[in-house]
C-alpha cells in the first residue's frame, strides 16, 4: 500500500517536533551513536587493512627448495617432477643461482658494489619455488620436500606466517565481540532515551490505538526519529574516518609500499566505510527507537 503524501508529511512533522521537544535526549542518543561509530569506524579501518595485508602476504607465501650443489642436471629434472607430485603443490618454478642472486640484490636495494665480488663466484644454490594451493599448507609441503633426494635446504616464512594468521584471527574475533557490544550498548541507549520521552507520549499512543490507528501508523514517526538520530550520529565518525585514513594512507602507506604489501586504496576505503557507518547508524537508530514503543502498542 502506498502511503499518502499527506500522511508522510504528518509523520515527518511529528518526528521533528518530538526531536526538537526532547532536544537533550536527542543529543544524548546521537552522542551515544557517535561514540560507538567512531570506535567501530577506527576499528574497521584497522581490521580491513589487516585483512588486506594478510591477503597480500598469503598470496606471497612460497616454499623455496634449494638444490644440492652436487646434483646433476638429471637429478634436478627428477627432483622437479617429484616436487610437482607432492600433495597441495600448485606450481613449481625453477630459479637458477644467477636469477636468485639478481632478485636478492634487487630486494636489498641499489648498493650493487657489495655484490660485485660475489657475482663472479655465486655461492647461491639453484632453487625451486613452490606455491601451495592454500597458504596454511606451506609447512606440510616444506616438510615433505625436505625428505626428497638432492635437497639441501627448504625455506619458507616459518613461524611468521602462522603467527600473523593467528594475530589476525584473534584481532578479528576480539573486534567483532567489541563492536557487537558497542552496537548493542548504543541500541540500548537510544531505546532508553526514547523510552524516557515516551512516558509523555504514551497517552497519545493509547488514544491512537483506541480510535483505530494501525500499528504501522503509530510506528512511523518513531521510525523516522530513529533514522534521523542514527544518521546524525554517523556524521562525525564518517568525517573522522575520512580524515584519519587520509593521514594514514598518505603517510604510513608510503612506507609500506616498498614491501610487497599495501593498504586499501583511499577512495575504496573511505567510500565503503562511510556507507557502512551510515548504514549501521541507521539500523541502530531505527532498532532502538522501534524497540522502545513495542510494549505500548499492545492495547
Amino acid at each position: 500500500m502506498v502511503m499518502k503524501l499527506r500522511t508522510l508529511q504528518r509523520h515527518v512533522k511529528e518526528s521533528f517536533k518530538s526531536l526538537g521537544r526532547n532536544g537533550w535526549m536527542t543529543f544524548a542518543s546521537v552522542s551515544a551513536v557517535t561514540v560507538a561509530l567512531v570506535l567501530v569506524g577506527l576499528f574497521m579501518m584497522v581490521l580491513f587493512n589487516l585483512n588486506k595485508i594478510a591477503g597480500d602476504i598469503e598470496s606471497d607465501v612460497e616454499v623455496r627448495v634449494y638444490v644440492d650443489q652436487s646434483a646433476t642436471k638429471a637429478d634436478q629434472t627428477q627432483l622437479a617432477s617429484s616436487l610437482k607430485q607432492l600433495k597441495n603443490v600448485q606450481s613449481v618454478t625453477f630459479q637458477s643461482k644467477t636469477q636468485g642472486l639478481n632478485s636478492l640484490m634487487k630486494s636489498l636495494g641499489n648498493d650493487k658494489n657489495v655484490f660485485a665480488d660475489v657475482k663472479s663466484d655465486n655461492p647461491l644454490p639453484n632453487a625451486y619455488i613452490l606455491k601451495t594451493k592454500q597458504p596454511e599448507q606451506t609447512a606440510s609441503v616444506a616438510s615433505q620436500a625436505k625428505t626428497l633426494p638432492h635437497v639441501s635446504d627448504v625455506r619458507y616464512g616459518q613461524g611468521t606466517v602462522e603467527k600473523l594468521f593467528h594475530v589476525i584471527n584473534i584481532a578479528r574475533n576480539v573486534g567483532i565481540v567489541l563492536i557487537l557490544g558497542l552496537l548493542f550498548t548504543s541500541v540500548f541507549l537510544i531505546a532508553n532515551t526514547i523510552k524516557l520521552t515516551i512516558v509523555a507520549r504514551r497517552r497519545e499512543i493509547e488514544i491512537m490505538k483506541l480510535v483505530g490507528a494501525t500499528n504501522a501508523f503509530v510506528r512511523w514517526p518513531y521510525f523516522i526519529e530513529g533514522l534521523i538520530m542514527g544518521v546524525l550520529g554517523s556524521v562525525i565518525p564518517v568525517f573522522l574516518v575520512i580524515v584519519v585514513y587520509h593521514f594514514a594512507y598518505y603517510n604510513l602507506g608510503g612506507n609500506l609500499s616498498s614491501m610487497f604489501i599495501s593498504l586499501i586504496p583511499y577512495q575504496t576505503m573511505t567510500t565503503n566505510l562511510s556507507l557502512l557507518l551510515v548504514g549501521i547508524g541507521a539500523v541502530i537508530g531505527v532498532w532502538g527507537s522501534l524497540s522502545s514503543i513495542r510494549k505500548f502498542l499492545k492495547i
Binding site: R6, K209, V211, T214, N215
Partner: protein, 231 residues
C-alpha cells in the same frame, strides 16, 4: 431489529487466574441503550473491554455488527475499532492539543481527508454543545466539558456502537445530567450505547434496559430496569 452485540457463553480468565466473566450470554439490538451495573469487581470493565477487543475472551463468541471479534486477526483490530466509539471515566484527552485538535486527532490518525475532518469536527462539537470552546485547552475546561469533548471524539467517525465505562464517575450530579443529555441525542441518531455505571440516580431516572453483573455473571436483565443496589 438487528442484533448489534451478541455474546455467546463468554468466559474471561485473567492471567493471574481471576475469573472475571463466567459464561455471559447476551444480545443487544441495534439502536438500544443499555446500562451495565453491579458491585465493584463484578466484571463491568472487563465486559466493556471485550466489546472493543482490548481483551480476548478465554472462551465463547462475541459478535459486534455481525463480526465475531473473538477470532479477529490482530491486523484487523484497528479497522474494527474505527466502528466503535469509546468513552472513559478519565476523559483521556491530550493536554497539549486544543478541543478542536483533540477531536480532529482521532480522524487524522485513521487518515481521513482533511476537508472531511474539518466539517465533521465542527458537527460533533456542535452536537455536544462546545463549538464555542474549540480553541480552549483541556485544562481550561470543567470536567463535564472535558467529558463532552471525549464523547465528541468517540463519535466523530460515526460508529454504530458507543461504549462508555463509568462516563460520569468523575463528575458531580449536575454535570452528569448534561452528559446523559448528550448520550440521549447520540442514541436518537441510531447509535447503540452500552454504558457501565455506578450512578443509581441516572439509571433510575433515565430508564433503559439494565444488565446487572455479579461475580462475572448476568444476574438480572430488565427492560426499563432500576439500579437495584443500595447506594
Amino acid at each position: 431489529m438487528d442484533d448489534m452485540i451478541v455474546m455467546q457463553n463468554v468466559w474471561k480468565a485473567y492471567p493471574n487466574g481471576v475469573m472475571a466473566l463466567n459464561g455471559v450470554d447476551l444480545s443487544v439490538k441495534e439502536g438500544e441503550f443499555i446500562y451495565v451495573v453491579g458491585p465493584s469487581g463484578a466484571g463491568k470493565s472487563t465486559f466493556i473491554k471485550m466489546i472493543f477487543r482490548e481483551l480476548k475472551p478465554t472462551r465463547g463468541k462475541i459478535f459486534v455488527n455481525h463480526k465475531n471479534i473473538a477470532n479477529l486477526r490482530e491486523r484487523q483490530v484497528p479497522y474494527f475499532r474505527r466502528k466503535i466509539g469509546i468513552v472513559f471515566q478519565d476523559f483521556r484527552l491530550l493536554p497539549k492539543l486544543t478541543v478542536y485538535e483533540n477531536v480532529a486527532f482521532a480522524l487524522e490518525v485513521i487518515e481521513e481527508p482533511p476537508r472531511m475532518i474539518k466539517r465533521r469536527v465542527m458537527e460533533v462539537l456542535d452536537l455536544v454543545g462546545l463549538k464555542h470552546k474549540m480553541r480552549s485547552f483541556p485544562d481550561q475546561l470543567s470536567g463535564g466539558e472535558q467529558q463532552r469533548v471525549s464523547i465528541a471524539r468517540s463519535i466523530c467517525n460515526r460508529p454504530p456502537v458507543l461504549i462508555a465505562d463509568e462516563p460520569t464517575g468523575n463528575l458531580d450530579p449536575e454535570t452528569s445530567w448534561q452528559i446523559m443529555d448528550v448520550f440521549k441525542r447520540i442514541n436518537e441518531q441510531g447509535t447503540t450505547i452500552v454504558m457501565a455505571t455506578h450512578n443509581r440516580d441516572i439509571v433510575n431516572t433515565v430508564k433503559h434496559r439494565v444488565i446487572a453483573l455479579e461475580g462475572g455473571m448476568i444476574v438480572r436483565d430488565e427492560e426499563e430496569g432500576a439500579y437495584g443496589y443500595e447506594a
